[in-house]
Symmetry: C2
Subunit: 478 residues, 2 copies
């Protein structure tokens, strides 16, 4: 039990120091290790298994909506990157440059892809000829690099894993439809799979992607009231396509530019899971992406029949659920802490007395509620408990977001709220970038998005007082 205590003590409480709490969890739950390359992390097996589960579910949804996976090069020649002006201006300060191959300097330097719009455009220009070739719905799972100054595991690292969808369409309407379809897939994934409620909305021009016509986003609130941009979907119109010569011969025999989208989510999602659901005992993992949904911990496992029964229970369940049996020689107390730290949704305790009574104890990770369950009812009871846990952590997150969302109708109120109350601020905005900049300066908040389908909270800009039709969520963000 000494180990047990030590482990619990080692975690900073989230109320004392949220940033340190986060760092403690990513290390103690064995999600990452730091590497010799500043700002680049090692994703350890437990962290990577979460990513694999995320990939599997999202990938099947992409394929079900007609998308195909491809693999584009890691490198972008400088001249290719330079073709779209806004894009290069957005990314140039944060790309890594390859200048030498072996001992020889390259004729043209290559950037390590920060995102692949330019490569996709270049390829699409080669393969799209006619209206019959449209739409083209491609996606890739890959690593990208952005040379950030300040880094944090999962949230902002110099290399990260993501998927980037890049599609080409015959009309502006088709592209807009695709952009919103993918935003919907992200929003549903956050809410149904990760159990994190999100605000869906449109970014202001200031916050949109470099070179996009419109950027849509799903924004989630973390435990500390800060916003995390969960995923973005961009409509590029035909500007990129024109710059890169992506044209098609339409039915009317005229050459027309294509309309383009891109959309992506990344290993950042793991950061969102940590900060949306975690607590002072560690991670709390949504069952659908948890490496193990259930951990079996034998109690008094040296006693006759205990380990045998534990193995029997495991074997009976492991076709239906991801189950781990920990039969190591650590104490049950140590194991309880360990799997709480790792956020395993359900813990199944099984000791000699339980076995006598043909039952076991199941403990929910999120609220530590305890259930006595007959061994022959496990198969039906576990899915019930997992579903209740999903609902529970979603509702907790939603309640927290509602409690920490404030409506401000005056600048004083906004400044005061931003200063004293962590969370989201709903306010009206005139549409002028000047006001966004001013709010950032004086209240340190940025516009997170203009939400879909919400009622206005007034008709005057919270900043300048002019006529305002746009409702905006403001906040501090990761």
């Amino acid at each position: 039990m000494a180990n047990d205590k030590k482990m619990v003590e080692a975690i900073t409480s989230m109320n004392d120091d949220f940033a340190q709490w986060y760092t403690d969890i990513v290390k103690k739950a064995d999600l990452i290790d730091y590497s010799s390359v500043k700002g680049c992390m090692i994703i350890r097996p437990y962290g990577y298994a979460i990513w694999e589960n995320i990939q599997k579910i999202l990938d099947s949804q992409f394929k079900a909506t007609g998308h195909e996976n491809v693999c584009m090069p890691l490198f972008i020649p400088e001249s290719l990157l330079n073709k779209e002006k806004e894009h290069i201006e957005g990314f140039a300060p944060e790309v890594a440059w390859v200048t030498h191959g072996g001992a020889e300097p390259l004729a043209e330097r290559l950037c390590v892809r920060p995102t692949s719009e330019t490569l996709f455009c270049d390829h699409y220009a080669n393969i799209i000829k006619s209206y019959r070739d449209l739409p083209k719905l491609y996606n890739q799972w890959c690593n990208v690099v952005r040379w950030e100054k300040t880094t944090r595991p999962f949230l902002r690292s110099r290399e990260f894993l993501w998927q980037e969808g890049h599609t080409m369409h015959a009309t502006a309407e088709d592209a807009e439809e695709e952009t919103l379809r993918m935003l919907d897939i992200y929003a549903n994934f956050y809410e149904k799979t990760l159990c994190i409620p999100v605000i869906r909305g449109k970014k202001t021009d200031k916050e949109k992607f470099a070179g996009a016509v419109a950027t849509y986003t799903v924004e989630a609130m973390m435990h500390d009231g800060k916003a995390l941009q969960g995923g973005t979907s961009h409509n590029f119109g035909s500007d990129f396509a024109k710059a890169y010569g992506v044209e098609y011969l339409d039915k009317d025999n005229k050459l027309k530019p294509c309309f383009q989208t891109s959309w992506g989510v990344s290993t950042r999602m793991i950061g969102a899971i940590i900060m949306a659901h975690g607590d002072d005992n560690g991670l709390v993992l949504p069952p659908k992406i948890a490496p193990f949904q259930l951990v079996i911990i034998p109690v008094q496992q040296h006693k006759e029949g205990v380990l045998e029964k534990a193995i029997e229970v495991k074997n009976a369940l492991c076709d239906k659920f991801r189950v781990k049996l920990d039969d190591s020689d650590r104490s049950p107390g140590w194991k309880f802490s360990e799997y709480e730290m790792k956020g395993v949704p359900l813990r199944l305790e099984l000791g000699p007395r339980d076995i006598e009574q043909g039952q076991c104890v199941i403990v929910r990770r999120d609220n530590r509620e305890k259930y006595f369950v007959k061994l022959d009812e496990l198969e039906s009871k576990i899915p019930e408990l997992l579903a209740e846990l999903e609902k529970g952590i979603y509702n907790d997150a939603l309640r927290r977001r509602e409690e920490m969302t404030y409506t401000c109708t005056s600048l004083e109120d906004l400044i005061d709220t931003a200063k004293n109350k962590p969370g989201f601020i709903k306010a009206m905005w005139c549409g002028d970038e000047e006001c966004e900049i001013k709010l950032k300066e004086i209240a340190d908040v940025t516009s997170r998005c203009m939400p879909f389908g919400e009622e206005p909270v007034g008709d005057k800009c919270v900043c300048c007082g002019k006529k305002a039709e746009k409702l905006v969520y403001f906040g501090k963000s990761y």
Copy 2:
């Protein structure tokens, strides 16, 4: 039918120009496109789907043998790479160097990983403390970069996709066992999944991996008689572990160095599939990794009931097999060529007269044999035909390899055979690197491997005539 003809004409015959035939196939079967970065390819959806199928099968075999996936950084600091002398000497001439982040020069330049032994060692030194932590069995699926001068899609490209397993063990025996276990997985995968017979063996010291104690390989013969190194498994002993400080406290309370392995296969496998099974009509894909195992082509599809029936057949089969229905307005002839080019194992033709008779025609891709199959027997007949095709293409490749393998006992014979008969040469070797170098110079062959479990073909070195105990496969290789 004009299109049909055009397509067939566009492919070079493999007997006329094997290299051009290969290039034609990778393009015409939509496997790759060239990118703006010299030597880096775009893997298109059809090619990437093959890779995804390969990944899925291998990954499950890795996991079944206790391996876990991780994600290491893309970059290696120069100082870290330099720690193991032989290793850096082997790779330095062909790595890409990142020298700038944004506008600023880096304090230390970073190489884009050509392989990740150094990163894994660095991480293992952090996380391995005691004998309880061993073995560590990690793998990663990722991209790597080697700045090759001459490149060819799949076979030798500057960036490629692969998996690299890196494991640490308590003893030399454990490491050797792991090295051979993984070689076995590769060999079985080639033979059972890709239907390509392989020679399993050990590399000579000259041909082994930079820094390894022993390298094992599976070598396959291509249609033109050249060898393709299909996958390698390396035993590193403890040299790397010592250089990087990967030690563990053993049960006897002594600090000991770990013993290490690494093993990898790459998108090269797709090149092997093309060159082992392809013919003058295009690809021939092994069913287990084919994106589609069966393509349904309606004949006279404008006639009433044809398309409906085709859809019905597809729906009945698509849970059990990967099925594509091509109901586009192209002619059946065009479609026949197209899916032969793409190597789809079985073609199902369905016209009005077939439907009347409750049957369809199935054509095997490899030998074009035709079968009339009752529609209500498809579910049992298709797996039979796929299994026969697997056996057929495996046996073809095996027969070809046997016919093109020569035993040489004199230097004159070896020189003559190497010059006039493409294929493998079995010969005895004294073990002296000088002889290997000489054979390369005068006969342009390299040692492919010292095979497991084959009888010697003499007792004198084919080159110098001295006593020789080692049987070697020599050949020209990709």
